[in-house]
Symmetry: C2
Subunit: 271 residues, 2 copies
Amino acid sequence: MNVIFIGAGNVAWHLASLFSEKENLEITHIWSRTKENAEILKEKIDKKSIQVYHSLEGLDFSKTDADLAILSIADNAFESVLSKLILPKNCILAHTSGSQPMQMLQKASQNVLGEKIEKIGVFYPLQTFSKAKQVDFSQIPFCIESNDKEIEEKLFTLAQECSEKVFKVSSKDRGILHVAAVFACNFSNYLWTISETILKEKKLPFDMLKPLLEETLQKALEINPSNAQTGPAIRNDKKVIEKHINMLEEMNLDDNFCQIYRLMTESIQNK
Amino acid sequence: MNVIFIGAGNVAWHLASLFSEKENLEITHIWSRTKENAEILKEKIDKKSIQVYHSLEGLDFSKTDADLAILSIADNAFESVLSKLILPKNCILAHTSGSQPMQMLQKASQNVLGEKIEKIGVFYPLQTFSKAKQVDFSQIPFCIESNDKEIEEKLFTLAQECSEKVFKVSSKDRGILHVAAVFACNFSNYLWTISETILKEKKLPFDMLKPLLEETLQKALEINPSNAQTGPAIRNDKKVIEKHINMLEEMNLDDNFCQIYRLMTESIQNK
C-alpha cells in the first residue's frame, strides 16, 4: 500500500514512524502546512524518496498512485484542507480525529472536476501523542469506521497490524469517547499542572507527588474511579476545604485555581 | 515501642497493618469512634491482646505504657478527640494528616490534670489509601515533623523502616503539599469518574480509556505536566470545544460536567 500523510503533527508523527517500519506499507508523500514539520518527519522516517509538500496547491495528489491517505491534522484545519484535497479515484481517505464525523471527509475530491470522494473511513488511535514521548502502539485502542464494508475491513486489518485492540466505532460513539478522553486526559493533566505550579511557587519538588499520582491511577484502574474517591470534598471536611481555598487565595497564582477547587469540591459532593 | 492507634480509617488501616509486621513495634490499643472499624482492624492485625475502645471516655490512655500514639482520624474529628485524649507523660503523639498543623496536637493532655502534651510530631504518608487497595509503603514519601529534635529523629527512623523516601517537612509546607495533592489525586480521580459516567450512559466500556489514562500519567511523569498538555483547549479548537459542550448539554447527566468543561478549557487557555 502506498500511503500519503496529510499532516505532520503529533499523531501523524508517531503513526508515520510506525507505518515506515511495516514492509507492506510505503509512505510516498507527506503534506504539512508547516514545511519544517513535514521535513522533520521525512528525516525521522529516513527515506529519501518521500515527497514533501506544504502549500494548499500541493494537496492535489490526483496523479499519484496512492492507495491510502491518512488525514491527521488539527480539527480546525479540516475544512480548508479538505476543500483543496484531491486524491486518485481508488485511494481511501481516512482521518485520525476523535471528534470529526466521518462524513466530513466527503468534502475532498477524487479528481480535478471536484467529484466527491467515495472511499472514506476513520482510523482513530485513542491516545495522547507528543513528539517527545515514545508510545507503545500495541496497547492503543483503534477506532475504525467506514461507509463501505470492504474499506472497513482493510482499515481494521491495518489497525490490527498496529495494535491488539481494534474496535469498530460509529462517529457518534467516537465523539462520546473523545469528550470522555478530554476529561480523563487533557483536564487531568491540567490539574497536575496546577499542582506543579503550586509546588514550584513554594520551592517544593513535584517529585514528592509522583507516587501519589501513580497510586491514584492504579487504584482507579483497579476498582474504577467512582469507587476510589477520597479527600476532603467527599468527606465534606469543611475546615480543610476552607483552609485550602484561603491558601490558594493567599498564593494568588491564578484566580482559576480557586474556582476549580470550589467547583470540583462542589461536584464531588453533589455526586 | 508500644503503639496506640487512634483511628481505624483508611490511613490507620494500612499503617497499623505495616506496623504489626515490625518486630520492634507492638500495637497495644486501637481506638475508633466506630467500634466495628476498630474490631475489623484488630482482626486484620490478628493479635488477640490488642485492646479496642470506641467511646470518647476510652481516650484516657494515661494508665497504659504507650510510647507512641498515632492519631489517624478525619480532620474534622481532631478537636473533639484531642480534647478527650490523655496519654502517659512519655508518650509521643503523632498525627498522619496532611492539613493539620502540628501544634494542634497540644490540645491533648499528658495526664488527668489536663496538662498539655509536650511530645508531639507528624508522621504523614503522602499517599491515597483505600482499604480495598494494597499499597507499597517503600515508595511513599513520609513527611516528618516535631517540636523536639530527639522525637523528630525517632519518627524519622520509624518512617525509614517503612519507606525509602522520608523528608522533614514543616506544617506550612505540608499544607502546600496537601492542597497540591488534592488537585493531583482527588480532583483527577473525579475527572475520571466523569469520563466513566459519560461512557456508562452511552454503554461504552471505560476500559477503552485505560491506555490513555496510563499514557497521560507516564508522559506527565516523564516530561512534567506543564510540558505535556494536549487537546482542543490548548489548540484553541473552538468548534470541537463547542461540540463537546453541546454533547454534554444534550446528555444532561450533571450540570457541573459542562461547568467543569468550560472552566478547565478557559484555564488551560489562560495559562
